[in-house]
């Protein structure tokens, strides 16, 4: 989609013309994917801990 957009309106201005825009998008996407990965991992760990806690709670006391 981006290529279609850029073909209809050629590269212009220093921001896109100098290639800085691609660096910014790359860094932003790496940060975003990193955050999503961290949140998913945290959720998985939390689910495991919640299960463990529930099993401990429900375990018969000695």
């Amino acid at each position: 989609m981006m290529f279609i957009l850029l073909q209809t309106n050629p590269l212009e201005g220093w921001f896109i013309g100098s290639g800085k825009a691609y660096v910014v998008v790359g860094v932003a996407c790496v940060i975003l994917i990193g955050m999503a990965w961290w949140l998913l991992r945290a959720e998985n760990r939390l689910s495991r801990m919640e299960k463990l806690l529930n099993s401990k709670k429900n375990a018969p006391s000695d």
């Binding site: 220093w14 825009a21 691609y22 945290a42 939390l46």
Partner: protein, 350 residues
Amino acid sequence: MKNTLWKALGILLLAYVFAITFLVPLGPGLLEFQNVDRVISSATENRSVPEYQLIGYGTHWDEEPDALQVFVKSKSQLAALEVIRVDDATHATIGLTLPYSLPAKSWNVLINHPVDGTLLLENGLFLSDRFIDAQATWPAPSFVEHPGNLGFHFPYQPRIIETIRNLMLHVPLWFTMFLLMGIGFVSSIKLLSNPRNELDDQRAEASVQVGLWFGVLGLLTGSLWARFTWGAWWVDDPQLNGALVTVLVYSGYMVLRQAVEDERLRSRLSAVYNLFAFVILVILLMVLPRFSESLHPGKGGNPGFNTYDLNSALRAVFYPAIVGWMLLGIWMYLVTLRMKRVNRQIELLP
């Protein structure tokens, strides 16, 4: 499945926002119309005329150089100027073919071009060496506004220029902070009506904790924007100072929670503090700046983006950005809340 879907939607929306925000080109605009202290022989006038250079941003004058038209306008008086030559896509040499007697000193510069459309440079020409005669008039040249022939692009705004892309970060970050602080506010009210509900206390704390991150990011992106558009990292402005005070007030909430050891007292005290903090947020960010002069768009008589330049291209990214950032904020809030609940359960284990 539903639980994963909205999170994926948030991330996809933000990926779309980042890509479009930084890769879509900016539309054309006029930067400067400057006297180059040279006099040239005009092709249309029987005299020498001062030479000016017209500088554009993102313009395409070299594509159809003969079609470039330049005008100056003051009130209802319009005059055509002579285009001597087009130097490149963004530079053109113009002959100032105006009579000695003029009705005004300050003029707007207008251009017409088949690709770029009609562009305006407000007060781009100031003539201090002419005789001012308010009655001076001449036949107006034919001028028809041209829509231009450009693809998808963001609007050019003087002074803001490329930094308009920050709109997709700065504003949604504050909206997300508002949402999270709103969740905290409701949770605090619920806690005060039922002090035994520990979950509401955890909700309030988690929402403020995550909301503060968004507030700090909002301050940073705002300061960066101010540096490029106003020339300073921070200016003494009611909106900016209000935003800083709001973040400090909510930081005080986190400090208060750490300072009180008794759990029941802590939850009730911090809930009352949170109610006041939210009221302060509304007053400082939404009410007071509207009653005082402010550089910030949308405040103190200064029009907001939505009134004059939030066009359809910006809206196509701005609204998804708001939804995307809010979904990410809610996801972070829910993870933080679950962490607090698990920690609490571990504390209560025998």
